[in-house]
């Protein structure tokens, strides 16, 4: 529509956002929780003058800096890259709404980077008190970053009153912000403890030191678990009705929700069985790695669900997955999809001048006069710009061809004309009846025949 659409075969472009986001959050939450862990524990180790613990914390700080400052920062930029490529309209809305929230978050990020390096590289050279202050600067800055980013991502699920007043504060203080801040804080605390368990299991041989780390890390882990549960409940309570319904109605989300509960449950059980009941278990790298693995599964699944429940929106009630604003749909339907899109219109102008009117508009009445092959091609373009956000073609992510396998053109036509009523997780059809016919031609072309050999035979056509 407003921007060119990027076709990524099989995967679809938005799935790249999901892929990079999931990888990023696994490190970013550790960057926050691990920062708070280092702040609390370094202060504790200085207070108790525990040299062995300080030596371990320094080793952990090296691992922490290597993972979070490098990989975390780059994958964070990677999210910027992919959202700009795969969802430019939504990105534009977010950027213009939250530029100063992001700019403020940037200041915290800068403080994080500087304090992380000073903390690690000047270990043993700075006075203890100053050293502890530096790591607290890191921890607080990292958490402040989390608060701002969580509020922005929460806006995508609940823009609150912003639609009415377009006010920055309405957007930032949306109903989903607090639940997501609580659950992400919990996720950060829990995940960082799991990282610490694994790191300690691999690098520490001293049983006494190991026991200390275990007991110290279990508290934030349990606190994190409580925050996750509380934030999760609030998240569900404040979900928009369509998102709540999607959780029940979409089979994929059913499976993912089950996976989320199972993985989170396993983590809680392992924490209970391990650090709480059998403190020695967590010393074995295998056990520690298992707990972290289930934590990663739980967090990745939660992130995917958070993205998926928004359908058909990218920003709830603001930007649709079909890359248009909700406010634009009626006008686009009236004017025509091909005519309304900057890039679709330019494509038609360049490649199908015969359908352009004398005054330079797409003449909808001429579309159906095109030869069948051209109708299919133009239908393919409509599919790309209207549908490819959520559907691959033949194979891959939710491919459309198997979804309409064996359908008659009439069935496809009925679906296209009533997209959002057939399935509320799909956007409304935003084109003219003639354009719907082009899309029907394309979908009929890519749709495979009904699988052969099925009984009973097709009762209407008599074909197997």
């Amino acid at each position: 529509m407003h921007f060119p659409w990027w076709y990524v075969d099989q995967l679809t472009a938005p799935m790249l956002i999901a892929a990079i986001s999931v990888i990023h959050v696994l490190v970013a939450h550790y960057a926050v929780g691990g920062g708070l862990f280092l702040a609390v524990e370094t202060t504790y180790a200085y207070r108790t003058k525990n040299g062995d613990y300080l030596a371990y914390l320094k080793r952990h700080a090296k691992f922490f800096v290597l993972l979070t400052v490098a990989f975390g920062a780059i994958t964070g930029a990677g999210i910027w890259w992919t959202i700009g490529l795969a969802s430019p309209l939504a990105t534009q809305v977010l950027i213009r709404t939250f530029v100063f929230a992001w700019a403020t978050e940037y200041v915290f990020f800068l403080a994080e980077i500087v304090s992380a390096f000073v903390f690690y590289y000047y270990w043993g050279r700075l006075p203890e008190k100053i050293h502890a202050i530096i790591v607290w600067i890191y921890g607080i800055s990292a958490w402040a970053s989390l608060v701002i980013i969580a509020a922005i991502t929460a806006f995508m699920l609940d823009p609150g009153n912003w639609r009415a007043d377009h006010d920055f504060w309405s957007a930032l203080l949306n109903r989903q912000a607090l639940p997501q801040i609580i659950s992400r804080t919990g996720g950060a605390l829990l995940l960082s403890s799991l990282y610490v368990y694994l790191h300690a299991a691999i690098t520490i041989k001293d049983a006494k030191l190991h026991a200390l780390i275990e007991s110290r890390s279990t508290r934030p882990a349990l606190l994190g678990a409580v925050f996750i549960a509380l934030g999760g409940i609030l998240w569900y309570v404040f979900l928009p009705p369509s998102a709540q319904a999607a959780l029940v109605a979409a089979p994929v989300l059913n499976v993912l929700m089950a996976l989320l509960f199972v993985a989170t449950g396993i983590v809680f059980v392992l924490l209970f069985l391990g650090p709480y009941r059998n403190p020695g278990w967590i010393k074995t790298p295998g056990f520690a790695a298992s707990v972290l693995l289930f934590g990663i599964i739980g967090m990745s699944t939660a992130e995917f669900i958070r993205e998926a429940v928004r359908k058909p929106y990218i920003c709830y009630n603001v930007v649709l997955g079909s890359q248009m604003l909700t406010d634009e749909v009626a006008a686009i339907r009236e004017k025509g999809f091909l005519e309304s899109g900057t890039w679709t219109k330019a494509f038609v102008q360049a490649n199908y001048p015969q359908v352009m009117s004398a005054d330079g508009h797409v003449d909808r009445t001429r579309l159906l006069a095109l030869p069948p092959s051209d109708r299919i091609k133009l239908g393919g373009m409509i599919f790309q710009y209207h549908c490819n956000d959520c559907h691959a073609i033949q194979k891959g992510y939710s491919p459309v061809a198997p979804l309409v396998q064996g359908w008659t053109p009439g069935m496809i036509r009925a679906l296209v004309n009533d997209l959002d009523r057939t399935r509320f997780t799909m956007p409304p059809w935003a084109g003219t009846p003639e354009e719907a016919e082009l899309l029907v031609s394309y979908l009929s072309d890519v749709s495979p025949a009904r699988p052969a050999g099925m009984l009973p035979k097709d009762l209407k056509t008599g074909t197997p």
Partner: protein
């Protein structure tokens, strides 16, 4: 024939959240700040690698120093890069998104290359810290790979930035790299004559920044190195700056005289922008002169003089960034005028950001002060 003007969307939602001058100012400031560390990895890593193979003992010493500093430099460079990226999207989404989407796979490859290059630098830096001259060859090779990856990243960036300005090329690139009217993201702006000198120009500039850094590092951070090393840096910094300045001048001349469209030439070579063009071309000479004077003086370079060199080089980068911004505007002019976009300034968030910015800078200054205090003590103790 497709008219590129038809690819411009003028109906984007929402107004600018800040005054135009504010967006322009932070885009300029952010890019100038980003240029300092970016120049150091762009040219500095390959210079360090070359010095290890062909350099003198002091040359290798400098290369080791720079590579040891590089993880921090890269982190700051990535961080500073966020600012111009943010403000370019605020003000120039109409050109930024289409250009990067047309070359999406290459644009996205920057992230993968950056991960590899950054960890390569870490591997090299830790290798030389822990194993010194006995560092295995494969780790040295990783250093070379990182250097080449950063240069490649520079090439992809030059592509994206030049494609933003080369709106005329969009229709053909789109048609050639599309599937049912959707872009495949496999286009590159290599047919644009502006791309190559622009890429090379930036490398010349990066050489000059690396040279200025040699002086700055020598005066401020190389207290534990020998007097002979610090004296050597004066001569080497001057020579490297000279090479960079000549490179910058040649590529700059090619870029401006050979590839600018007539309208850009007319604007940049006549008043009032002619002053900026002349200053952009001439200002590296000022830093070169400062380095030359430093070289003529006895002993090692003073901290004051090195700071002056650093500040002057920051000015070189700032003037260059300003010129880029003006040329960018001239390229966009036939298609859209940023100043005509509606503005709905978010004053309270803007003020909060500025307060956070000042406090954040204060906090960072305090941390650097603490580091300076213990570094000073260490150096005094060593002496």
């Amino acid at each position: 024939m497709m008219d590129p003007k038809n690819l411009f969307d003028t109906s984007l939602p929402g107004g600018m959240p800040a005054p135009i001058w504010f967006v322009e100012l932070f885009k300029w400031l952010g890019f100038t700040l980003h240029e300092v560390p970016m120049n150091l990895w762009y040219a500095g890593i390959i210079v360090s690698m070359l010095l290890y193979v062909f350099g003198s003992e002091h040359g290798r010493q400098f290369g080791s120093r720079l590579m040891a500093q590089m993880p921090v430099i890269i982190a700051l460079g990535i961080n500073f890069g966020i600012v111009p990226l943010l403000f370019i999207q605020v003000g120039f989404g109409q050109v930024f998104y289409p250009a990067t989407i047309l070359m999406a796979w290459f644009w996205l490859s920057i992230i993968a290359m950056l991960v590899l290059a950054y960890y390569g630098v870490y591997l090299y830096a830790y290798g030389q810290a822990e194993q010194g001259p006995k560092m295995p060859r494969w780790k040295r090779a990783v250093g070379w790979v990182s250097a080449l990856l950063f240069i490649t990243i520079g090439f992809v960036f030059a592509n994206a930035m030049s494609l933003m300005e080369n709106v005329k090329a969009w229709p053909d690139l789109w048609q050639q790299h599309s599937f049912h009217g959707a872009t495949l993201g496999t286009a590159l702006n290599v047919a644009d004559p502006r791309l190559w000198p622009r890429w090379l120009l930036m490398f010349g500039l990066a050489l000059t920044t690396t040279a200025a850094w040699i002086s700055f590092d020598s005066a401020w951070f190389a207290g534990r190195e020998s007097d002979a090393y610090r004296t050597w840096t004066k001569g080497f910094a001057w020579k490297l700056y000279l090479v960079g300045a000549v490179w910058f001048a040649v590529a700059g001349a090619w870029y401006s005289f050979g590839t600018w469209p007539a309208e850009t030439k007319q604007a940049m070579f006549l008043s009032p922008w002619a002053v900026l063009t002349v200053v952009t071309a001439a200002v590296p000479c000022a830093v070169l002169a400062l380095l030359w004077f430093a070289r003529q003086r006895e002993g090692e370079i003073s901290r004051g003089w090195a700071s002056l060199i650093g500040l002057a080089q920051f000015g070189v980068l700032g003037v260059n960034a300003a010129s880029r911004q003006v040329v960018q505007h001239l390229a966009f002019a036939p298609y859209f005028d940023i100043s005509r976009q509606p503005t709905e300034t978010q004053w309270t968030p803007l003020v909060i950001f500025l307060v956070a910015f000042v406090l954040g800078l204060g906090l960072i200054a305090w941390m650097i002060y603490q580091v300076g205090k213990v570094s000073g003590k260490t150096q005094t103790a060593t002496t």
